[in-house]
Subunit: 343 residues, 2 copies
């Protein structure tokens, strides 16, 4: 490394004895220049370690390599995990992912979308807040920027939706639980912000009806994203008041279940499927920590890998089609039941 200061592409072109447009062409596609030219550039690259300014590049480009990834709450390991996989796929495909966290607040979500307009991304992967999202703002954004929704569906917004089939989740857990023991009651937040939660409740009721059982919902109070604490408090209350109508509890999601399990442990309620257990607990999501709960959590797992792959594949298709798709597709992935020790 020589310490001549290379400030921009002009400088770099000069020291490699080429014109700037040629160098620019190289960075756009290294194979588009003559091999000897390419070798010269790459030799200079080794010496000076120059990299073009990605934002200046995007300023006057028809199609950038940027992609925006927006999630509602990154401190939720579910999103952290799915984002991790998506980011890798994007980098492998030569795209530059930019990650944004709405932090559960509609105001942030809108600000993020504004920032994303400036980024001029080739496409955006958006997991919206859900009920709290400003649909008008998102609709306007989707008109300007090719967007794939994931996790939470907002009707007719974005070019496509990729998510999980909540009915598949619930039908598998309910089927399993009813087949192997008492029909479950359903443990959930009273007013969930996430549309998936509503779909799960409806699926539970429908499934119980179909199987000829009486659905029992145990709604607990609380709002925000501290689901474990909400689940714990709600479960303590429910256990004390005897609100569980069955010895089997199906939680809307794993984070609530984690709180519930912690409450059970505290109260000395043994959870599991053995005879000496007082309660069976199952749930949905296969949260990264659900294998480490005590007991380990029986749950319906997202196919993280398939969802991530499809999200990214849809994004690529969208980009290749010039930002618009013929029709809005909704791709839903079924769950895989993971039997562990809690039910």
């Amino acid at each position: 490394m020589t310490n001549t200061k290379i400030k921009n592409m002009e400088d770099f072109a000069a020291i490699s004895g080429l014109s700037r447009p040629t160098v620019s062409k190289y960075f756009h596609d290294p194979s588009s220049v003559r091999p000897t030219t390419r070798a010269r550039i790459e030799a200079a690259l080794e010496q000076y370690n120059y990299r073009p300014n990605i934002f200046a590049m995007n300023q006057n480009r028809k199609l950038t390599k940027n992609v925006g990834i927006v999630v509602p709450y990154l401190a939720d390991p579910f999103f952290a995990e799915i984002v991790r996989v998506i980011e890798r796929r994007c980098v492998e495909a030569g795209l530059s992912p930019f990650l944004f966290n709405s932090q559960g607040e509609p105001g942030y979500e809108i600000d993020i979308l504004d920032t994303l307009r400036s980024l001029k991304p080739a496409g955006v992967l958006l997991a919206p807040l859900g009920r709290q999202s400003d649909k008008r703002a998102i609709e306007s954004f989707c008109k300007d920027v090719p967007t794939v929704l994931f996790d939470s569906n907002l009707e007719d917004l974005g070019e496509a939706f990729v998510g999980s089939d909540n009915r598949s989740f619930v039908s598998q857990t309910v089927e399993y639980l009813t087949r192997t023991g008492e029909p479950p009651c359903f443990f959930e937040m009273k007013t969930p912000a996430n549309p998936n939660a509503n779909k799960r409740r409806l699926a539970y009721i429908e499934m119980m009806d179909r199987l000829g059982f009486e659905p029992h919902i145990v709604p607990i109070k609380g709002s925000g994203w501290a689901f474990e604490e909400i689940g714990r408090q709600g479960a303590l209350k429910a256990l004390i008041e005897g609100a569980f109508a069955s010895n089997t509890v199906l939680c809307s999601n794993d984070r609530l279940a984690i709180g519930l399990l912690s409450a059970c442990y505290k109260m000395g309620v043994k959870v599991g499927r053995n005879d000496d257990c007082a309660l069976r607990v199952a749930s949905h999501d296969d949260h990264p920590f659900s294998r480490f709960t005590c007991p380990s959590l029986t749950t319906a797992a997202h196919d993280y890998s398939a969802v991530s792959d499809e999200v990214v594949a849809t994004l690529f298709k969208l980009i290749e089609s010039g930002g618009r798709l013929d029709s809005r597709t909704e791709q839903l992935f079924p769950a895989r039941l993971i039997m562990r020790d809690s039910a």
Copy 2:
């Protein structure tokens, strides 16, 4: 909202009847223009909802409002939580945080630093990978971009370091455990990537020595960031082989402890401080989930809020000082012992 298309500041200045530089000045500081002018701009703003392109703004600015936040592994809730707080503080201060995840890979970390150069951030908050980091690359980056290190210290790199005082963490847990029962053995990964882990081991040995007890280290194998699984496998092995030299185990961090607790539950080893318990377990970090483990985890807590505040405050000081500080400060925060049920 009128649907005249406002594409840039030129357009916006035109419809508000002002010149572009005046509008530019307004966005730089709204109070720097005459009140009547300000009112005109803000009225137009309501109608057309224009926002300047943040990246074009930064292109020719001496000092941008961008800050970069880099963490080694975002799927670790510890980082997710600290990032959440830091991001909020930045937004409140009118800065635009950009979040990057090294994903445990040195190559990513370097790529991120390159992207960050393009972003021209006013400052960067960097939690490096640690031992695996390319120190030369980071050193070179820190020369160009004002950087505050946090979480993991790399000697002499960056303008400042903000982190936790590992000795305070370990001394409090060791002191508590020895005072209330058997002296603990120390459960950790054999070759931890994070420098904090090494400091904790040394602090454990020193503390045990000082108190006149024999230190016992239980090193487990494994690499990567799946600490819970590593802890679980290591603990299963240790339990079967009787490798715990004491009925008290102090884990290097909560994620290992979560794995250990899950192994104990599996093996029917009751954990807690009551007489009917076979093992006491304590740890360090106060991981967001440690209050929901079974039993809840006794741990030395980071002062998340204080660390985040100091990280951001140091960043602000650094920015105000023009990107350099007189001397490199290392600010370490003590732990707060949180007594829960596991020990």
